[in-house]
Subunit: 124 residues, 2 copies
DNA sequence: CTTGAGCCTGTATCAACTACAGACCCTAGA
DNA sequence: TCTAGGGTCTGTAGTTGATACAGGCTCAAG
């Protein structure tokens, strides 16, 4: 399944341990054997993670997927909360980007000990 | 010093343990006593962290601050590397924001089990 | 004299993995 | 048949940047 999905082997076993993935059936010698349902579920997890959902959020989403009586509204709440987080992170990084690029732009980049970056970090 | 800087007490001691902050002199009873130089250094660390520098990067910057023969060029390299990281993170989050907001926009938000977000996560 | 606050050390916890160690097992080639 | 190499198994420790205790000492105010 690691090969099929591109997911790290250890990560799959980690997901199993924390209950994100179900315990798969085992061969006589104890080897895990996965089927299409497992692969599908892992892909769901990977796509969710790729969109920045935390494992707890993924757990919530999986619970809704498994539950036939789930509603679109329930999913929407999780997704919108996450979207809010993402937007806050972007705003924060943009602030950092602005400060940092402004400061670096004032660097001479030469062999002198005076440096705009150091000055900025030293001053309030 | 925690009050003076707004830094968490445990965090200051953590910085001391990992060598970011120097071991301060102690009173007879073992209480740490800090002076202006400590406060200044901690402020430097806090501002660096606020700009998203990792503690290892902060360590590097502090090394350069302490070193009289440091050059602007050396600092510039660290800052520009970090700026590249920050820009990459912004780009990544923007991609996520786009996908997520497009998908959430297709949510009906009603009590039906059909959900655009789940569909998007289930499909390749 | 007590009560509450502050400081001390040291260890455990968090997320989300990753990286081993040490033991099996299985297949292909000599 | 033997062996070399890869794969799998379990279980534990490490990563980053803190934060949260537990259990004990000290100190100032009332």
């Amino acid at each position: 399944m690691a090969r099929a999905t591109g997911c790290n082997l250890e990560t799959i076993r980690y997901y199993e341990k924390i209950g994100i993935m179900p315990d798969p059936p085992r061969s006589v010698k104890g080897y895990r054997s996965y089927d299409d349902a497992h692969v599908k579920r892992l892909n769901f997890v990977m796509r969710s993670r790729d969109l920045g959902f935390s494992l707890e959020e993924v757990r919530g989403l999986l619970g809704l997927v498994d539950d036939q009586s789930r509603t679109c509204a329930e999913v929407q709440v999780i997704a919108e909360d996450h979207l809010t987080d993402v937007r806050a992170k972007i705003a924060d990084l943009k602030r950092i980007e602005r400060v940092l690029s402004d400061t670096v732009a004032r660097c001479t980049g030469d062999a002198a000990p005076e440096c705009a970056v150091i000055d900025a970090l030293l001053e309030a």
